[in-house]
Symmetry: C2
Subunit: 120 residues, 2 copies
DNA sequence: TTGACATATTCCCATATAGGAATGTAATGT
DNA sequence: ACATTACATTCCTATATGGGAATATGTCAA
């Protein structure tokens, strides 16, 4: 690895979940563990595709596997999503601020000119 | 666009923030708006690189710009991060479960064999 | 207008994809 | 041993990317 054009999908959770299908898989497997075949059937994806996505998710710890006969049961490891949740949480107070300002402005307009809502 | 190897960085917020430098930029610009030059100085990145990252962030609505003389002042638009926060939140109850189980198991062991903590 | 400053864009290139198709491997039942 | 089921991996290809370097665009001031 000399100069990477784009960070590997397996470099961290952020890169892994950038792919929409992988987000779907995670949402599915957090409810209950499932064999690959079920994921294929439910999400209407090709089996190799699912296996590849699971590989990526496994590499970053977003899913865990256990064997059960011929089946491999995958489940989401929700702990691995926490870092993303925490990072996004640091912005929470700011969008709250934003909403406040919008609300305040709306109320100010309401007081100043009660009919302005009807216009437009 | 026929068959995209990987979704464009500008396809949504998830893809845009997959890049670590862009996350740094967002964290910086949420506190206060700044001209490009300051971002360059603070994060120690090349100016063209910063401009390119800002372009991506702007395309997905993660930052906003306003002109001020020769400067362009960029600021994070925290609202655009909410969807990510919401998505990760759907997993919150599950990692809480997980933590509960771990805690319960630890306490069960404590009760059954108080010295086991010392071993290993 | 010219020069200086601030930011944006373009060109080039090595790289890691994601999908499709085909093939490989592993576990089970008979 | 063999066929079958369930997954995983490999090969191929088009694609978007990020960094570096160079250049373009835009804005002000004198």
């Amino acid at each position: 690895m000399q100069t990477m054009a784009r960070a590997a999908t397996t470099s961290d959770a952020f890169n892994a979940v950038a792919e929409p299908r992988r987000r779907e898989i995670l949402s599915l497997l957090v409810v209950q563990e499932r064999p690959v075949g079920e994921i294929v059937a439910i999400l209407r994806l090709d089996q190799p595709s699912v296996s590849k996505h699971l590989r990526v998710l496994r590499n970053v710890g977003l899913v865990r596997v256990r064997r059960n006969g011929r089946h491999k049961l995958y489940r989401t490891n929700p702990e691995a999503i926490r870092p993303m949740h925490q990072w996004t949480s640091t912005f929470e107070r700011y969008w709250r601020h934003q909403l406040h300002r919008v609300k305040e402005r709306a109320e100010a307009m309401e007081t100043a000119n009660p009919e302005s809502n009807l216009k437009l």
